[in-house]
Symmetry: C2
Subunit: 163 residues, 2 copies
């Protein structure tokens, strides 16, 4: 008896559903980057916070390398900067590359891996699922901040519920 199939209905969420959820968020964040006037992406902020481009670089440094680390077991390094040359298209390209990497490595994460305890980037200890949820939560958190930047610039952000 394949208990995994039998019990699928008793799981809160299965791995493919979590990936779909994550991809939905990545798509929304991409549309949020795209909604920014190019210069504001790199020079606008509120209350001494980072620009949205800087937040996006943080996100790029976390989810894809973190999921690759979870999938392969090879240590990842936290790297939050790259030479985007103040071009929106370069950020979008990096975003697409990260999304493709997540999709490539995700299927290598074995079901039992999610409840294992790891130290992400050599420093963030927790269960694999907790790490992945953190990646997603952190993206939602900063994207929500990007929405305020957009609103204060008179730009309508993408609909939050559309994925």
């Amino acid at each position: 008896m394949d208990t995994r199939v039998t019990n699928k209905k008793e799981q809160v969420i299965v791995a493919e559903e979590l990936l779909a959820h994550l991809k939905g968020h990545q798509g929304l964040t991409r549309r949020t980057i795209a909604a920014f006037p190019e210069d504001k992406l790199f020079n606008y902020s509120i209350g001494g916070m980072r620009t949205f481009a800087e937040m996006i670089q943080e996100l790029l440094g976390i989810a894809a390398p973190g999921i690759k680390e979870i999938a392969t077991g090879k240590p990842a390094e936290l790297q939050e900067n790259f030479d985007h040359q103040n071009k929106k298209q370069n950020l979008l390209n990096a975003w697409d590359k990260a999304s493709a990497e997540i999709e490539e490595y995700w299927p290598q994460i074995k079901p039992e891996r999610f409840s294992e305890t790891i130290k992400s980037f050599g420093q963030y200890e927790g269960k694999v699922w907790e790490n992945i949820f953190y990646f997603i939560d952190n993206e939602i958190h900063h994207r929500g901040q990007g929405y305020v930047y957009l609103r204060s610039l008179g730009v309508e952000p993408p609909a939050f519920w559309e994925r």
Copy 2:
């Protein structure tokens, strides 16, 4: 053989873990409300957005009634306003009451319920887990916006990673 116990390790996340995750977020949102100067909670906003108190009322109208509906099967109504009398303490009390309700009703959600399709509040169709994730994501999204309000007021928000 109790397959549920056997397969616990192969689940992305079990129900108690999702509750713990949700409670961690609720605690952080509570600290975010508490960080606001009382008047700013009710009269401050950026870019024509809602005040943080209005966003909190939206959240109060969603998670606790939504989880009660999921647990009991009894239809919930979307109710996003209550008479807070512009008092921070009234918002905090309502928040605590909602958190207690979530904790009360959560154990009534049967494991197989998470993959059932429902229409939350009579209008949001999706699987139970998708609805619950939406409640959490929406809270993170608006709380992130509250962080920008706080920063623009010169107030340090609570640490995002502390739950």
